[in-house]
Amino acid sequence: MLTTISPMHFVVLSAALFAIGLFGAITKKNAITVLICIELMLSAVNINLVAFNMFVTPEAFIGQIFAIFVITVAAAEIGVGLAIMLTIYRNKLSVDLDDFDWMKW
């Protein structure tokens, strides 16, 4: 049965994407992978924003603009993240997240 696409579908999609990203971010050991997974989570946000824009405020581009900001900021964030990975790799020759538990308790 064919139904029209409702906001719920987008929400479920973005939730799934968010969850996948989250799962990766929590389980993957490689820091780069984790950063990529975080990107997935942010993408989920973007899907939400864009979809809501279409269904909730079709007369204004609020969601879209928001999404663009998110993409931009995410890029900056990832950039900084990668820079830090680099310095760390130089020091420790590893980007395995399990190696970074010196400070604890």
């Binding site: 971010a25 929590i26 389980t27 997240l97 399990d98 970074f100 604890k104």
Partner: protein, 639 residues
């Protein structure tokens, strides 16, 4: 002059108090000066007291109405306490007696205490004691009386423990204080009850309203008050079962024993009961209790005295016994007889103590009567005055003790307490026996070669002589032929007791029998075998008596096992339970922190996991739980 003394009777205690201060703050480094100051102030106090007493006893209006004047001490809504002077025949008699005895004993002490490093301090204490005792006597308010009551206790404590370096003195002093403290506890309760029910502690006012007590309280309450109040005298006047401190109090210097633990302080209890007679007469059962306690104490202490070996100890038990007499008299309602005995006892007992002190002084503090003998040859004044004292206490007419003791026995008999009368009579016999046992062993019989006795200096013998005179003639003011005493010092209605010749004869006979037995046992047949092993034959009785019925041991057991035991239990409870809970809470707090810190495992991804698990949990909670039900518990949003 007389008027001045009567209106300024507070000078009587104030003068010795001043001498206390002067000695403590100024003259302490100069012993001679200190004693001079002390004696001078004491004598002037004596002068004032004599004048005041003269004033009282020459004005018939004081027979019924005492002279009262007071000032406010402190007060608030519901509790007003004044301090002042209540000068009536009894208090006039008492201040005269106390200042006289105190003066004599201070003079005596200049000889006795000569060379002691604490000479000045000793005199300061004596002054303080005199001040407190005199203050007690003239108090117009029960609370004021209690203040001095405790102060004499303090002086007694300080003087018993005067030889601070002796452990035994320390223990005796402690014992005296704490034992009397138990009495004070009862007395305090009694006072509180009086204050709360009658709203005043003024003795005179109480005397006015007590007879109508039913307007205020019930008979049961009244009995309670009377009994509670009586606990104080039991402690202070060494009545059974709180008498145990008094014999130990002999650890103090002998003049102290004479002054405090024979003539003055210990009779404070008797005096208190006499002062509050208006309360006791309302409660028959309390009166009976007093009589029974008195008679029993008299007998009980006399039996112990029979076996004791130390001279001062014998005298101490004798004091307890005589105090019992006084209580007995009060209990049968005869304030007259009681105070009469108090008066005569003060002289002959002070005399005997000072005499004993003189002996000890001569024998360098060898205390056992069995180590003495024949002293009268070397120490005639001491010896003969002591004999006078012995006759007085034994109740041989015309010496003072006879008249007063006879008055007591008579009053008891007249009140119909035959059992108590018998006890009193037996005690009279025992008294004569043990006192004369002591006199025979000490002053008569063979001299002991190791002793090198010498007569004491004049400063010591003169007081002995004065006291001996008083012990001889002191009773004559109250003989049946010459009942001045009875006219002045009484409670309720003055009534002249008709002399009862048979009782008088019985009493003389008993005294004579006691002396005779002592003579037989300790002089005449002293070396006969059957006398010698008397103690062995009656071993159990002898041991029991010699060990004072093991009262001390019982108290000691109670003190060590029960009191200290529960103290230790409390301590352990405090450390392990009360404090344990505190420390436990602390440890739990710290421990929780110590365990929870391991949740922080340093792994980035577990942090992220916690983050989202928390989100999940919160979401689930919000989804499935109505927050309002939680809000009921945790308060809050009902906006």
């Amino acid at each position: 002059m007389v008027e001045f003394a009567m209106n300024h009777t507070w000078l009587v205690p104030l003068l010795p108090a001043l001498s206390f201060l002067i000695i403590i703050f100024f003259t302490r480094p100069w012993p001679r000066l200190s004693s001079t100051v002390s004696i001078a102030f004491m004598l002037s106090s004596f002068a004032v007291a004599t004048l005041a007493a003269y004033g009282v006893f020459t004005d018939a209006q004081f027979k019924h109405e005492p002279l009262v004047y007071a000032i406010r001490w402190f007060g608030m809504e519901g509790l007003n306490i004044d301090v002042g002077v209540l000068l009536g025949p009894s208090s006039a008699m008492m201040i005269f007696m106390v200042t006289l005895v105190a003066s004599l004993i201070q003079i005596y002490s200049t000889g006795y205490m000569k060379g002691d490093p604490g000479y000045s301090v000793f005199f300061s204490y004596l002054s303080l004691f005199a001040a407190s005792m005199l203050g007690l006597i003239i108090s117009s308010n029960l609370l004021q009386l209690f203040v001095f009551w405790e102060l004499v206790g303090l002086c007694s404590y300080l003087l018993i423990g005067f030889y601070t370096h002796k452990n035994s003195a320390r223990e005796a002093a402690k014992k005296a204080f704490i034992t009397t403290r138990i009495g004070d506890f009862g007395m305090l309760l009694g006072m509180l009850a009086i204050q709360i029910i009658f709203g005043t502690l003024n003795l005179y006012e109480l005397g006015q309203i007590m007879p109508n007590f039913e307007d205020y309280t019930t008979a049961g309450m009244m009995t309670l008050i009377a009994v509670l109040l009586f606990i104080g005298p039991i402690g202070k006047s060494g009545q059974f079962p709180l008498h145990v401190w008094l014999p130990d109090a002999m650890e103090g210097p002998t003049p102290v024993s004479a002054l405090i633990h024979a003539a003055t302080m210990v009779v404070a209890g008797v005096y208190l009961v006499g002062r509050t007679m208006f309360l006791f007469v309302e409660v028959e059962s309390a009166m009976y209790l007093i009589a029974v306690v008195g008679a029993f104490t008299a007998f009980f202490a006399a039996t112990i005295a029979v076996t004791q070996r130390e001279i001062k100890r014998i005298l101490a038990y004798s004091t307890v016994s005589q105090l019992g007499y006084m209580m007995l008299a009060l209990g049968v309602g005869s304030l007259t007889a009681s105070f009469f005995h108090l008066w005569t006892h003060a002289f002959f007992k002070a005399l005997m103590f000072l005499g004993a002190g003189s002996v000890l002084h001569a024998l360098h503090h060898k205390a056992d009567v069995w180590d003495m003998g024949g002293l009268i040859k070397k120490m005639p004044i001491t010896g003969w005055t002591f004999v006078i004292g012995g006759l007085a206490i034994a109740g041989i007419p015309p010496f003072a003790g006879f008249w007063s003791k006879d008055e007591i026995l008579l009053a008891t008999f007249n009140e119909g307490h035959y059992l108590l009368f018998t006890l009193g009579a037996v005690t009279a016999f025992l008294t004569a026996f043990y006192i004369w046992r002591m006199i025979f062993l000490t002053f008569f019989g063979e001299e002991k070669p190791d002793n090198h006795p010498h007569e004491s200096p004049l400063s010591m013998t003169i007081p002995l002589i004065v006291l001996a005179v008083m012990a001889t003639v002191g009773g004559l003011i109250g003989t049946p032929m010459n009942p001045h005493w009875q006219e002045w010092i009484f409670f309720g209605e003055s009534h002249h007791i008709v002399p009862n010749i048979p009782i008088m004869l019985v009493s003389i006979a008993l005294a004579a029998a006691g002396i005779g037995l002592a003579y037989v046992l300790y002089i005449k047949d002293r070396n006969k075998a059957n006398v010698k092993d008397l103690a062995i034959r009656f071993k159990p009785v002898y041991t029991l008596l010699y060990n004072k019925y093991y009262m001390d041991e019982m108290y000691l057991w109670f003190n060590h096992k029960v009191v200290d035991g529960s103290a230790r239990m409390t301590h352990l409870f405090d450390i392990y339970v009360v404090d344990g809970i505190v420390n436990g809470l602390g440890a739990v707090t710290k421990g929780t922190g110590g365990i929870l810190r391991y949740t922080q495992n340093g792994k980035i991804q577990s942090y992220a996991l916690v983050f989202f698990l928390a989100v999940l949990v919160i979401t689930i909670l919000l989804a499935f739980n109505d927050t309002t039900s939680m809000a009921l518990v945790l308060g809050g949003v009902s906006k």
